[in-house]
């Protein structure tokens, strides 16, 4: 027998989401269409070329933009994805993560800077971030699916929610950590606030920002895989299939492909950004 005062957020949330669905359906439909279009374009581009050609291109790009080590790593990671027969799934996953990370950063970076400047904003954001990070990620999927139905869009939305907190926290930390005298220098030479932000603060904050981006990528990847449960496709779908059919081989292959994709995204993004600094 439950208590009469039992707390049941679902009793309020479910009608709220129904109401949102009924009244804002065109907006959600538009979001769905935009995300689907962007995702489709990236996926299409990645899958347009035969795998060996794309691997060659990626290796070449890493060699030119970063260094030989990154090029070899890129070749190995993508080669594994291809040889394990999970090429399409891997490309779908890369597209999903790329879009989710781009949106997460676009939201978290400005908010993080704002929080670094205004303690009140940081105080307001902190509990929200705590909730976003501690609620099990499956839970985000429920409202996301209720609003956007099954498929890649709810997966992306849930991934963004999961990817924002680390990026936001580390952005705040990075900008807090910029030495005070460097900012003072900017003011003393008569630099505009925007110039101080981009030419002084941003370069000084870059190492910590890179850690944030790295965390954002890895957590997003973890979430995208989880989102295989709601029909996001990609490697997550393979893992889910392996789990439901108890196929050890498929599960392991998909798991290793995820590791390969993670390594690729992490090292390449970090290498490119670090190279850009010097």
């Amino acid at each position: 027998m439950s208590l009469p005062t039992e707390f049941s957020p679902g009793a309020f949330l479910a009608p709220a989401i129904d109401w949102l669905n009924a009244n804002f359906h065109p907006i959600f439909a538009l979001i769905t269409r935009v995300i689907e279009a962007v995702l489709g374009a990236i996926e299409g581009a990645l899958l347009a070329l035969p795998p060996f050609a794309l691997i060659g291109l990626a290796v070449l790009a890493a060699l030119v933009a970063i260094n030989l080590r990154a090029a070899i790593l890129a070749g190995c990671c993508l080669g594994f994805c291809w040889l394990s027969g999970l090429w399409t799934g891997s490309m779908q996953t890369i597209a999903l993560v790329a879009v989710a990370v781009a949106i997460s950063v676009a939201i978290a970076f400005p908010l993080g800077i704002l929080a670094a400047r205004r303690p009140a904003i940081e105080a307001a954001l902190r509990p929200v971030l705590d909730i976003m990070q501690t609620v099990p990620p499956w839970v985000y999927l429920i409202p996301a699916v209720m609003i956007f139905s099954l498929g890649r869009v709810p997966a992306i939305i849930a991934t963004i929610v999961y990817g924002i907190p680390p990026m936001l926290r580390l952005t705040t930390l990075a900008f807090r950590g910029v030495p005070k005298d460097l900012k003072e220098l900017g003011q003393a030479i008569g630099a505009k606030p925007r110039t101080i932000l981009w030419k002084i603060e941003f370069p000084a904050a870059t190492p910590t920002l890179l850690v944030g981006l790295n965390q954002c990528i890895l957590l997003s990847l973890a979430m995208v895989v989880l989102a295989g449960l709601v029909g996001a496709g990609g490697l997550g779908a393979e893992v889910t299939r392996g789990l439901t059919r108890m196929e050890m081989g498929l599960g392991l292959r998909a798991g290793l492909a995820i590791v390969a994709v993670a390594l690729l995204l992490d090292r390449v993004s970090r290498g490119a950004l670090e190279k850009g600094r010097r």
Binding site: L185, G190, T195, K199
Partner: protein, 359 residues
């Protein structure tokens, strides 16, 4: 002390009764200090306000190096930041080139800082990911000057501080002294009239510090710049400064030339400070001489020196010639006599006895 810019050089920075009290109740705290004479500690207790600078008045003239000397916590770093409005004053006015900087809007203030006031920091504050040249050119880059033009100006400034061969290096490859030269070059690149130096040499070892002090003074004089120089080291202030202001607990206790401060300290605090300073190069003949009439011997046979000769030079004259006194002459006219006794009291920092010499 009214503005006396008719008989002397133009006043570039005019700081009029400026206060800075940190805290929410700074207004009340200032009133309590002026009306009831509360001390710094009492203000902190009663109003939870920290007194940075209280009632500071100073003027920096064109071509002058003005030193502000004080120990840590004396408010000297706050004071220098009030001069370019990195910190807003709680009360009082700062005029730079006759313009009240409190009235400038954000854009005009940026212009003022970019064109007229350079600043050098104790921590140097070089941007680590930029080369020496790019660091030196940074001020002009921010102003939107084209790459060629700003690099030319930066190269010229780096040449002045002797770093022409290091333009393509990164700050981390330079020693502390060289880094501070880059800081100085960066300030010189935008060719400001005033340079604010916030303890620039404090973190350097003594030999390098001395070398940089001499170079800095020479360079500033050659270029005709004015400088406000913050230091916690009285020796440094005396070496570099044309005039020195001594600060304690946010108050300027005394302002004057090195000689004035050493010969006539305003209070015991200053007296304790100057006690250990060597007078040999500081005190000039005109401060220790006695009127020629008080000298019983013949004046004609005495060696001669100018009134601006320092004690060291006078001792040199006396030991070389074996004379008991030196005649101080302006042109052909003898204006006074310095005896061995006068010299000894001069070394101790006492002024001439009986009738005070013309200052």
């Amino acid at each position: 002390m009214e503005k006396a810019n008719t008989d002397t050089a133009e006043v570039l920075i005019d700081c009029q009764s400026v206060w800075k009290v940190f805290g929410d109740r700074s207004g009340e705290a200032i009133r309590a200090i002026t009306e009831r004479g509360l001390s710094k500690q009492q203000v902190l207790q009663d109003y939870n306000c920290v007194v940075g600078v209280s009632d500071a008045t100073l003027q920096v003239r064109r071509g002058e190096i003005f030193c502000i000397m004080g120990l840590s916590g004396s408010g000297k770093s706050t004071l220098i930041r009030l001069l370019n409005r990195l910190i807003e004053p709680s009360l009082g006015k700062v005029l730079v080139k006759g313009q009240d900087i409190a009235t400038l809007d954000a854009a005009a203030l940026r212009q003022m800082r970019a064109r007229h006031i350079g600043m050098v920091f104790q921590s140097v504050a070089l941007l680590p990911q930029r080369t020496v040249l790019e660091n030196a050119a940074f001020g002009l880059e921010v102003q939107g000057v084209s790459r060629d033009e700003r690099n030319r100006a930066a190269e010229a400034a780096l040449a002045k501080v002797g770093l022409s061969d290091w333009t393509a290096r990164y700050p981390s490859e330079l020693s502390g002294g060289m880094q501070q030269r880059v800081g100085l070059a960066r300030a010189l690149t935008s060719d400001p009239e005033i340079i604010l130096m916030d303890e620039p040499f404090s973190a350097l070892d003594p030999l390098i510090r001395r070398q940089l002090q001499d170079e800095f003074r020479q360079l500033t004089k050659d270029l005709g710049k004015s400088a406000v120089f913050i230091t916690h080291d009285l020796d440094e202030a005396i070496r570099i400064g044309d005039r020195i202001a001594i600060m304690k607990d946010g108050v300027i206790i005394q302002t004057g030339t090195a000689e004035e401060i050493v010969m006539d300290p305003a209070d015991q605090y200053v007296a304790d400070f100057v006690a250990g300073i060597s007078r040999l190069h500081l005190i000039k003949a005109h401060s220790v001489m006695i009127p020629a009439a008080e000298w019983q011997g013949a004046v004609d046979g005495l060696p001669r020196c100018s009134p601006e000769a320092d004690i060291d030079a006078l001792i040199g004259q006396i030991t070389e010639t074996g004379s008991d006194a030196v005649a101080i002459a302006e042109g052909d006219a003898v204006v006074g006599i310095v005896t061995i006794r006068n010299l000894l009291s001069g070394v101790r920092g006492d002024a001439a006895p009986a009738p005070a010499a013309a200052a």
